[in-house]
């Protein structure tokens, strides 16, 4: 079974290795240069001692040069989709489409063992692939993450190992199940992409901010916290105004107040602005819902557990279907 799995998937393994090399070489070259710049330019020293002179300008220049590329790592979210479509979907669909399942199911290996062996080996392969890519990207982003200490931001979050590996295994499982159900490679590939996006996009947009309940901070109007050149480390998921009873003002109410204070001109924020005086006069306060930087690991683990749980359910369903599948 080991040899059979290797023989059936060696082409996929080769393509994956080539793609990984194609990504890894530029990452290693540019990453090494950036890491060197981080220490020699004194940015590392600024991060260690934030009050140093000229740090604001130095760090801003460094971020200007590198954060754009660092943010493009969001494309790493394509990896699960690629794995689901090109590795997961054909795994069973091709056997059914080409009729080779009749050959496979009449050898002396039970269907359950046949399937579990292949799922375990190929699943381990894609997990290693995702882990390698995650390690590379996380290493590259190291200086950027050290500067702002804010790994909850989307790019840092989605390339982190627990999230990326779990999402990749989830997409793989979607592909395997689609192949078992649809029995046509192209149809299974399309269904896999659609199902993966149907789960992943809402997770990004709506689910992740509430994987853990956010903390709430209430501040009096008129005060602004100045963090200096260092960006916020918190992930703010909601903010606004609330009154003395704890009622949170709706968008409509906020717009009404802004109009009242400024007419139709744009609002200007800051401690001495008319809007802050209005808030103070009317007993309104600021509230902020946020995740502290320390929530990074718990949120990673919650998201990974959710994706892995779904993957396990889908793979179990695929095994059940294949065991029952006949003619």
């Amino acid at each position: 079974m080991l040899w059979v799995t290797w023989r059936q998937h060696r082409a996929e393994l080769l393509v994956a290795a080539l793609l990984l090399a194609g990504v890894a070489i530029p990452l290693l070259v540019t990453g090494a240069a950036m890491h060197a710049e981080y220490t020699t330019d004194g940015v590392a020293a600024c991060v260690a001692a934030p009050d140093g002179t000229g740090c604001g300008r130095l760090v801003a220049a460094f971020l200007d040069r590198h954060s754009e590329w660092g943010n493009r790592f969001i494309w790493a979210t394509l990896l699960p989709a690629l794995v689901g479509v090109f590795v997961g979907a054909p795994l069973l669909a091709r056997e059914f489409e080409q009729g080779t399942w009749r050959l496979a199911f009449t050898q002396s290996v039970t269907r359950t063992r046949w399937l579990l062996t292949r799922l375990a080996l190929v699943g381990a392969g894609v997990a290693v692939l995702a882990l390698t890519l995650s390690a590379l990207l996380t290493w590259w982003r190291g200086p950027l993450d050290a500067i702002d200490g804010h790994r909850l931001r989307t790019t840092s979050f989605v390339v982190a190992a627990p999230s990326l590996v779990a999402a990749t295994l989830f997409a793989f499982a979607v592909g395997v199940l689609a192949g078992a159900l649809l029995r046509r490679t192209i149809a299974a590939m399309g269904a896999t992409l659609a199902c993966y996006l149907a789960v992943r996009l809402p997770v990004e947009e709506a689910v992740r901010p509430y994987l853990l309940s956010p903390l709430v901070r209430i501040t009096e109007p008129g005060g602004t916290a100045d963090t200096g050149w260092r960006p916020e480390t918190e992930w703010v998921v909601a903010n606004g105004w609330m009154d003395a009873t704890g009622h949170r003002l709706t968008d409509r109410e906020e717009v009404a107040i802004t109009r009242e204070v400024y007419g139709n001109s744009d609002a200007v924020y800051g401690a001495g602005t008319p809007i802050e005086r209005y808030l103070a006069d009317h007993g309104l306060r600021h509230y902020t819902e946020y995740h502290p930087a320390g929530s990074f690991l718990p949120m990673q683990l919650v998201e990974a557990a959710a994706f892995l749980g779904l993957a396990a359910v889908l793979l179990a369903a695929a095994v059940w279907i294949v065991r029952r599948r006949t003619a």
Binding site: V4, Q8, T100, R102, F105, T106, S108, T326
Partner: protein
């Protein structure tokens, strides 16, 4: 080892979803060590019966036992006893013939690699070639070689020669016959080419519209049927064991289920019958009740052995309902 049962079906039926029954009321005892031919028109249920026999399908009703034990296709030991060649002889795309052999070796505890290589050499099939680039006949030979190398006790072939040209057909059957001659392998193969079966089979099962219409040892079937020729006679109601009647302008030919040695009425001239005539006569029948053998229907033989098994249709009325 003939005489013992290789496959026994009792009350076997299969229905796909809520559609009509693909196979119903199939009760058969297939003797070990025989080459058993399964004939029937397209859609008669041949593939269904074969896949039920090896557990690729689950029966809707009834049971299958293989070599005296209930069919267990979820155990490696059960799987190892059966070789199967599907209708389109599937091989993995991109695998070389050598890869296919290695596939067989790593998927089976018992695999006759040397024998398989020897057979492929004799057939002039180069093992370094890609299996899916071989001709249809060679692909069928590779699939058969794989199934034989597994050293099964039962080999099941679903329409093995249907897609092959006449030359490849003969080559394939030759490989099969030679392989069977060396062992006490039981072979169950389906075909709609009766002449092909007549050459290689000892035993015949005829399926029509999902039911077994005739089953038995071919020699006994031939001895138990004959053609009566005589002046035209349109009233055939009184004739024992009539299977089919064809009427010319002046003569009638009746295919009847009568022992060849029983004297016929003097108005008829009795002639022996060929297998193809018997098969076609049964396939042409539209009713569901097979004719009972004329004069002294054979009682249930005490010894299983080479016997004529007749499967009667008990549920014709149920099906009408």
């Amino acid at each position: 080892m003939t005489g013992e049962s290789a496959l026994r079906f009792s009350g076997l039926g299969k229905r796909y979803g809520r559609r009509a029954w693909a196979l119903r009321d199939c009760t058969l005892d297939l003797p070990q060590g025989n080459v058993i031919g399964l004939v029937g028109a397209n859609g008669a249920g041949k593939t269904t019966l074969l896949q039920l026999a090896i557990g690729l399908l689950e029966p809707t009703e009834g049971t299958v036992s293989m070599f005296g034990r209930p069919l267990r296709m979820d155990s490696p030991a059960g799987l190892a006893e059966v070789g199967f060649v599907a209708q389109d002889h599937p091989l993995y795309r991109g695998f070389s013939v050598a890869d296919m052999l290695r596939y067989g070796r790593s998927m089976n505890p018992r695999f006759d690699q040397a024998g398989a290589e020897h057979r492929l050499r004799e057939l002039n099939i180069p093992t370094e070639h890609r299996a899916d680039r071989l001709s249809g006949g060679q692909q069928a030979q590779v699939a058969l070689t794989l199934a034989l190398a597994k050293q099964p006790r039962l080999l099941v072939l679903d329409e093995p020669v249907a897609s092959l040209d006449p030359l490849a057909r003969r080559e394939f059957m030759k490989t099969l016959v030679e392989a069977v001659a060396e062992t006490d392998l039981t072979v169950l193969l389906s075909s709609h080419v009766v002449t092909e079966l007549e050459r290689v089979c000892d035993h015949l099962v005829l399926l029509h519209q999902g039911r077994v219409r005739l089953a038995g040892d071919i020699d006994e079937l031939l001895a138990g049927h004959r053609i009566l020729t005589g002046p035209r006679c349109d009233d055939t109601a009184g004739i024992d064991g009539l299977v089919a009647a064809t009427h010319g302008t002046r003569h009638s030919h009746l295919l009847v289920r009568q022992p060849a040695d029983v004297p016929a009425h003097p108005r008829w001239e009795a002639n022996p019958v060929g297998l193809e005539d018997v098969v076609l006569a049964y396939l042409a029948r539209t009713d569901t009740e097979p004719p009972r053998p004329a004069s002294a229907p054979p009682p249930e033989p005490a010894e299983p052995g080479r016997r004529l098994s007749i499967v009667t249709d008990r549920s014709a009325d149920e099906r009408q309902a």
